[in-house]
């Protein structure tokens, strides 16, 4: 049955209900350019989404060498043909007229066009000089969660064994580093235990700080379909905003910011008190239970209620829901990861599953989520503050394996300390010990906290900044050299989503002008730098995506993220495949830990663990005595009050976050008409009671300020928890007169003008959901509502206050359900 649906007005499309333990029905979503019909498409080229971490598989429609649309892949395990609004429309941005087409170098203070040789020679000359004068610690690489596996691996080898620097991280630090850290703390190793298929089987789904509806919309479609089918799951939602998830939830808790550990400890307290605990599982597969039980002994719902400002009775109900589940699926995202005590809280969700024995069976799983499409690959390949193949920097045998593989002396691979995290790299740059920063595919001048600080670091004379991207972003405007990159649909590579599914994304069209794939740029740099192995041969021996993939397979062999059973050819044509995929599991692996804990043994594990409150690292001796046999580690944590609390001057709490219609800093979604019109500018959300106390109304221009800075936006009055303000973080300055920063004519618009420089001491993830803020009116509204969507968590509290968000004819998408 074919229907056309306005997918801006109805972001999740039509329902295909299904019952528990049944297969999720197929629904193929297609969006083609005006005037093109499916019959006129010359080629369909296989790809997957890079606008969120779902890993939605799709085909790109090509006509006369141009992209003319997309279609979901019916046979893929992840989305069964569905696409979400960003997938459906944002391909159009590839053809934007303002794409970078030639390299730029700064001359007399201005960026001017040049050829590739000139740009690369500048970078190489600068690198050589720094290496000679100051050593590898002067050079850092800050990458993204949007490149491909082959590119990350090449970058990791180049940086770690070629340059020999410890400074390589991704913006996945802002996004997914707590997920990785929480898995390492509990299971000794990174790797998602569960699978999206658990949604088909669960009877309770608990979403902790995870607005699934807007961050992984296709899996939310799956939940919605189950809610309309036989034997639907019950939902627990922990989120201070009235998200679409909250609206469907059996129990919704809206805690005060920064209190997740208190809440989770109370939930654990109740589960232990009512003895809904799987003692056999605990004995067989875990260590540390006694300590957890004693730590939460006094964490009653009443105690937590006072801290979290939610009714104790609701906490008890939530615990009842979790305790009575027979197949429990929990998911976690930024409401936990970007908040105070991030890792400590995420680990308590793992604990919940360990003590209830809810792992490794259909429907019983944990999804420690990612925000970015290729975040998982930065973790596996070692481009994000981990070492390639989930190797342990404290384990000399692991370093020796890498040295062998790359034919270098182990001493050239820095492992005297953990790889430097992004926030520390910026600190080193601020201090002047890091003198060159190569930024690939990310936009720190909008996405990092405390923007005035970040701008002043990037603008320093002594810091040489290279930016490799699609557009002249806010960050690129501050660079010394800008390299035009090819992107999705213009290059070939693989990437892995949050549930370990590896997809291939093929090249469909040529990149614009002289733009080049990131892999080519890295290979060119390695060649010009003449990076050598210890016998004088070239360090990097591969030359294209396929040979890079084969090289990565050798690095992954025998490690948890084993790719040896995969090839580009095998990934072409069918469905994505979940790692580990090797001789023993040629079809991939749906769930980890089906038979006990696999990779926590002291000789194998990726990490010996860290103190959940201080971030201090444990060493092998401590780990061996704690966990000699390699079981899961139950780690308890005490609640600590947040570092910034509201006071008279700054009476509100402030959280930043996302909307379904945009991704990252709107590099592509802001250049997509349907998406841009759905959420064209920044806004500020406040509760009805706070608005009326300040005599503010929908559409008033308000200013949000904190000790770091201020931003302005139109007010949207919503059902958010009183005392809390919310600002979407996607908006920067590239589409304003100011260009890259606020100026006399452009007020602050980016949420991060206000956010604090503070990070979780364990995962080093910045805390974007923690500031204390003030709110004031700048100007009465002119009758226009805030530019916020009505379809999502920013829905107005009074439904009649604002006309509904629609996309009109340009947003019509064909849905074909069976």
């Amino acid at each position: 049955m074919d229907v056309s649906v306005d997918r801006i007005a109805l972001p999740w499309g039509s329902r295909t209900p299904y019952g528990r333990d049944e297969a999720w029905p197929v629904r193929v979503d297609t969006c083609l350019a005006d005037g093109v019909d499916a019959g006129g498409v010359q080629r369909w080229v296989q790809a997957a989404s890079i606008l969120h971490s779902d890993g939605d598989a799709m085909d790109i429609a090509v006509l006369d060498g141009r992209m003319v649309g997309v279609r979901g892949r019916a046979q893929d395990r992840v989305n069964r043909g569905r696409l979400e609004p960003k997938d459906l429309f944002a391909w159009q941005a590839n053809a934007s007229p303002d794409r970078l087409t030639r390299p730029l170098v700064r001359r007399d203070g201005r960026l001017v066009e040049c050829d590739w040789a000139t740009a690369m020679d500048r970078i190489v000359a600068h690198s050589r000089e720094l290496l000679e004068e100051r050593g590898p610690g002067a050079i850092g690489f800050y990458t993204t969660g949007q490149l491909y596996l082959e590119e990350y691996y090449t970058l990791a080898v180049l940086a770690r064994a070629g340059i020999g620097t410890n400074h390589l991280d991704g913006n996945t630090r802002l996004c997914t580093s707590t997920a990785a850290e929480a898995l390492k703390e509990s299971f000794g190793c990174d790797g998602q235990p569960g699978t999206y298929d658990d949604i088909d089987h669960a009877d309770v789904i608990a979403l902790f700080g995870h607005n699934l509806a807007e961050t992984q919309p296709v899996q939310w479609m799956r939940v919605l379909d189950r809610l309309e089918g036989a034997d639907p799951p019950r939902l627990l939602c922990v989120d201070p905003r009235p998200t679409p998830v909250a609206r469907e939830a059996t129990v919704h808790l809206a805690p005060r910011l920064g209190t997740n550990v208190a809440l989770l400890n109370a939930l654990l307290h109740e589960i232990i008190r009512t003895d809904r605990v799987d003692h056999d599982y605990i004995a067989a597969h875990t260590v540390g239970y006694e300590e957890l039980a004693s730590r939460v002994r006094d964490s009653t719902p009443e105690w937590a209620a006072a801290i979290c400002d939610v009714p104790a009775a609701r906490i008890t109900e939530a615990a009842e829901l979790l305790g009575s589940a027979d197949r429990l699926l929990s998911t976690v995202l930024q409401g936990v990861y970007q908040s105070h005590q991030a890792t400590a809280a995420a680990v308590q969700v793992n604990n919940l599953h360990l003590i209830r024995g809810m792992l490794g069976r259909p429907g019983a799983g944990v999804l420690q989520m990612n925000g970015q499409p290729t975040a998982q690959n930065t973790r596996e390949c070692g481009a994000d503050g981990d070492l390639p193949g989930f190797r342990n920097w404290q384990n000399d045998a692991h370093i020796a394996e890498l040295a062998d593989l790359w034919n270098v002396d182990p001493k050239t691979i820095p492992h005297y300390a953990p790889p430097t995290h992004a926030m520390q790299m910026f600190r080193y740059a601020e201090q002047g010990s890091l003198r060159m920063l190569w930024v690939t595919g990310t936009n720190p001048a909008v996405s990092l906290p405390e923007l005035s600080r970040i701008r002043s670091i990037l603008a320093q004379e002594r810091l040489f900044v290279v930016v490799q991207d699609l557009f002249l972003t806010e960050t690129a405007q501050l660079a010394d050299v800008v390299l035009p990159a090819a992107t999705w649909g213009e290059k070939t590579g693989t990437f892995t989503n949050a549930d370990r599914t590896v997809h291939l994304s093929d090249k469909a069209v040529e990149p614009p002008g002289e733009a080049r794939p990131d892999l080519e740029i890295f290979l060119d740099y390695a060649a010009r730098m003449e990076l050598r192995d210890k016998d004088g041969g070239p360090l990097i021996t591969w030359h294209d995506p396929e040979s890079a993939f084969e090289a990565w397979k050798r690095c992954s062999a025998g490690r948890p993220c084993d790719y040896t059973g995969l090839t580009h050819a095998r990934l072409r044509g069918g469905t994505g495949i979940q790692w580990p995929c090797d001789e023993d599991a040629p079809h991939g692996t749906q769930r980890l830990y089906t038979d006990g804990i696999t990779w926590a043994h002291p000789d194998v594990c990726e990490s010996y663990g860290k103190d959940l409150e201080t971030g201090a690292t444990d060493d092998v001796v401590e780990y061996r005595s704690l966990n000699p046999e390699g079981k899961a580690v139950i780690r308890a944590a005490a609640y600590l009050p947040p570092h910034e609390q509201p006071d008279d001057q700054y009476p509100f709490q402030l959280a930043t976050g996302r909307t379904i219609y945009h991704f990252h800093t709107r590099t592509k979604t802001g250049r997509t008409p349907q998406l841009n019109e759905a959420a064209p500018d920044v806004w500020v959300e406040a509760s009805a009671s706070d608005a009326s106390a300040l005599a503010l109304e929908e559409g008033d221009l308000v200013e949000v300020s904190t000790p770091r800075g201020a931003m302005r936006g139109r007010l949207r009055v919503t059902g958010i928890r009183p005392g809390l303000l919310f600002v979407p973080f996607h908006y920067g300055y590239w589409d304003t007169k100011a260009g890259h920063a606020p100026d006399g004519e452009t007020a602050g618009r980016a949420a991060n003008e206000t956010t604090v420089t503070d990070w979780d001491p364990v995962s080093k993830q910045p805390l974007f959901k923690t500031a204390a803020a003030a709110l004031r009116r700048v100007e009465r509204g002119d009758g226009h509502p805030a530019p916020a969507p009505t379809t999502t968590a920013s829905a107005p509290s009074r439904a009649d206050a604002v006309p509904g968000t629609t996309g009109g004819p340009a947003a019509l998408v064909k849905e074909d359900a069976g």
């Binding site: 600190r427 201090q431 002047g432 103190d611 409150e613 503070d758």
Partner: protein, 164 residues
């Protein structure tokens, strides 16, 4: 005064001193954000220890005050912050940071040894409340130690190799 009260006094003094030091280091290194925030959190542990030592001391007939409160707002703190910002852009403060972390480590080590002594004496005299005090506080002192050690380990390579 017996050996136990002597040890309690030493701990009372040592933990108060560590709380003050942690607070001062947090202030001095506002631009080292992790140090600033975690040191502030860790100062809270030492203040709790001071309180608990004072409470237990009372039962042993020793009169010890609760933790001294330090007002970190106000002019002094603003001045310190300005100073921290001014030096925050130069590499040499890295050396100062390493020195401060080293001092914290040594002070915490001294406290740790006193906790060890107290626990031993408590066992010898079968003084359960005293043993409970030591077993509650000593692990946190060890965690303070591990934190300073970790920070020194992670920061030294960059700081010490980048001085010209």
């Amino acid at each position: 005064m017996n050996g136990i009260t002597l040890t309690l006094r030493a701990l009372h003094h040592g933990e108060q001193r560590l709380a003050d030091e942690l607070t001062a280091v947090a202030e001095r290194h506002r631009t080292e954000h992790e140090v600033h925030h975690v040191a502030t959190d860790l100062a809270r542990w030492s203040r709790e220890h001071v309180q608990r030592v004072a409470d237990t001391g009372r039962d042993h007939g020793v009169n010890l005050a609760g933790p001294a409160d330090h007002d970190t707002s106000g002019l002094l703190s603003t001045l310190r912050q300005k100073a921290a910002e001014a030096v925050g852009r130069r590499p040499e403060p890295g050396l100062l940071l390493l020195r401060d972390l080293r001092e914290l480590h040594l002070d915490a080590t001294e406290n740790s040894l006193y906790w060890e002594m107290l626990a031993q004496a408590a066992q010898a005299t079968r003084d359960d409340p005293l043993l409970a005090l030591a077993s509650a506080c000593h692990p946190q002192t060890l965690r303070q130690l591990r934190w300073t050690n970790t920070m020194i380990k992670n920061l030294s390579p960059q700081i010490l190799t980048s001085l010209s």
